[in-house]
């Protein structure tokens, strides 16, 4: 990422040359490549599309011809889910918990990665190692002690924070591991210049580092958001009734309305939309951010 940033800033004139050459180098796509792309797309969205379309069919249609288009198209499955107040409760809970998790992860992760990346002090590497080790421990392992901690010691069972805090804690190692090399790669000259201008290190962090790290923060933010959105086991233990999240709702719905396959498809389809939209909106920036992350 550092290199990318630098070239963006320093080597702007080169851009145009790059552009024309790029076309020559890659030479467009041959039919074969489009065919491969089509297969990939089919494999990727096929199952999702099947679920989406299945929601527009009746159970009788599904049972009669499992692999067919809706005929006629029915909207009742979707309207049924959308007029179900539980669905909206679940959606709000999922959103709030995911946003809380993301905020904690991005703010705390960024703060922690900063000294780990740019300060030189004894114990820096061991401290970093603590976070790296956290990557290796799945939340399933600690789920029962975690449950006691949240419900009994903190009395935060069945609350948004009770889920968001441990989720953020388990997402922090990944965040720190991704952000540290990202921050390390920012040129020292920037920092030296800022310090010469009389900025404190904290000032440098807020005014220069944070703005420059946008793509990295988007990346870890999205990873945290998606992780929280998809989480199943921890919410299952901690949340009840109207506090449930969408994955729990999907699981509930698919067992309560087990015979209503089309309804299940409609419910799952609607449950996946928010995460998809969120991702689509930020897709470009995520790719940019990951670029910095994986380059180290």
């Amino acid at each position: 990422m550092s290199a990318g940033m630098m070239t963006d800033a320093v080597a702007a004139p080169k851009r145009q040359a790059t552009h024309t050459r790029r076309i020559k180098r890659h030479g467009g796509g041959s039919p074969l490549i489009y065919l491969i792309a089509l297969v990939v797309v089919g494999f990727t969205v096929g199952p999702v599309l099947y679920g989406v379309l299945g929601g527009f069919r009746t159970n009788a249609q599904l049972a009669d011809k499992p692999a067919a288009l809706p005929s006629p198209w029915v909207l009742s499955n979707y309207t049924g889910v959308l007029t179900n107040p539980s669905f909206w409760h679940y959606a709000v809970n999922s959103t709030v918990i995911a946003l809380l998790t993301t905020t904690i992860v991005v703010v705390f992760g960024m703060m922690a990665a900063y000294p780990l990346a740019r300060y030189k002090f004894r114990g820096r590497e061991p401290l970093f190692l603590v976070f790296v080790l956290g990557l290796l421990f799945p939340a399933t392992v600690a789920i029962i002690p975690l449950f006691i901690l949240i419900t009994k010691d903190l009395n935060m069972g069945n609350t948004w924070w009770g889920v968001a805090l441990p989720q953020a804690a388990f997402a922090l190692p990944m965040t720190v591991v991704i952000l540290r090399p990202f921050l390390m790669a920012l040129p020292n000259e920037l920092e030296e210049a800022a310090l010469l201008d009389g900025a404190s290190r904290i000032g440098f962090f807020w005014r220069i580092l944070v703005p420059l790290s946008g793509p990295g923060m988007v990346t870890v933010g999205v990873l945290a958001f998606v992780g929280s959105w998809n989480a199943y086991l921890l919410p299952l233990l901690l949340l009840q009734d109207d506090m449930k999240t969408l994955p729990l709702g999907v699981a509930d719905f698919s067992s309560e309305h087990a015979s209503d396959t089309a309804g299940v498809f409609a419910f799952t389809t609607l449950a996946m939309i928010p995460a998809l939209v969120f991702f689509l909106a930020l897709q470009k920036r995520i790719v940019n951010g990951l670029q910095g992350a994986v380059k180290g």
């Binding site: 489009y34 797309v41 703060m111 603590v130 999907v250 799952t268 990951l290």
Partner: protein
């Protein structure tokens, strides 16, 4: 400066220690007791739980399943992901839409993906078997998820579907970091597209691939959700993973001591693999890194 470091690190560290490290320490403590999940910890059994886990065929099988998943994930997703990334890195119509689409499965919750795939894979009534029989083929007699010899590979196929997008996006990100000058030089030398990929792009993608492989490995070792939804570890324990083993022992059988011992073993396995990987593979990257950086400036 001390205070500054403290100020920056403390919030993350506190949250981390409180919600990750402390429960883990408790898990280690549970692992040396025989404990039903309630009441006081009194029945100290030393390392007996560890012995019984390691002697349990279901656990050793589960361990082998994890290893199989690690190996297959890398063997399938690496070439496939690389090929798709190289393909998408070319200028072509609909490129950005393609990139988006390929990442879609990764964004879906495993519960949601699992519920949908479970329907698709049903024997007889599922759409996959329906399509196969329409072209004169048929799936396994007992179903894709119901035949012990097939189920694990079915799960691997679904995992490939779910996580290929991550590999592609990471590789694409890595590809964008390959300096344009190198391509320029290569094309002046008259290299073909394939030569450029093989000699320049893929080697330069090394660090990205190694990072991805590490993440993939850890994820495969900890695999739980998807298996739980698709098969619950069955049929006939043919798809158990270490994580499903420990959840079964814990929540279904209330053998929390044994479950905790299994979780500690899982941690140690992941740790050892990570350290080996760090030592043999990733070390090259950290040594290379400073040189690269200087070269780029």
């Amino acid at each position: 400066m001390r205070l500054e470091i403290l100020f920056f690190v403390a919030p993350a560290l506190l949250v981390f220690l409180f919600f990750v490290v402390w429960p883990i320490i408790k898990a280690v403590q549970f692992s040396v007791y025989r404990w039903k999940g309630y009441g006081p910890l009194v029945d100290f059994v030393g390392l007996k739980n560890y012995a019984s886990v390691l002697q349990n065929e279901v656990f050793t099988d589960a361990f082998m399943h994890n290893i199989t998943i690690v190996v297959f994930s890398i063997l399938i997703q690496l070439p496939l992901g690389l090929a798709i990334a190289l393909l998408l890195n070319r200028k072509m119509w609909g490129q950005s839409a393609l990139r988006t689409i390929i990442f879609v499965p990764y964004v879906l919750a495993e519960v949601i993906a699992g519920v949908v795939w479970f329907q698709l894979l049903q024997p007889q009534y599922g759409v996959i078997d329906t399509i196969l029989s329409a072209i004169g083929l048929h799936g396994p007699e007992e179903g894709w998820l119901g035949t012990p010899d097939v189920a694990l590979y079915t799960v691997i196929a679904v995992l490939t579907w779910k996580y290929l997008g991550l590999a592609v996006i990471l590789f694409l990100a890595g590809l964008q970091g390959v300096p344009e000058e190198l391509y320029e030089a290569a094309s002046i030398d008259g290299a073909t597209w394939w030569q450029v990929q093989r000699k320049i792009t893929i080697p330069l993608l090394g660090p990205t691939i190694r990072t991805w492989a590490f993440l993939s490995m850890i994820g495969s070792l900890q695999l739980f959700d998807m298996v739980w939804i698709l098969t619950g570890g069955g049929p006939a324990n043919s798809t158990t993973t270490m994580a499903t083993f420990l959840i079964t022992e814990g929540t279904k059988r209330s053998n929390y001591g044994i479950a905790s011992a299994a979780s500690v073993i899982l941690f140690v396995v992941a740790l050892v693999m990570a350290l080996l990987y760090q030592y043999f593979v990733l070390r090259r990257d950290s040594q290379d890194a400073p040189r690269n950086k200087r070269a780029k400036r």
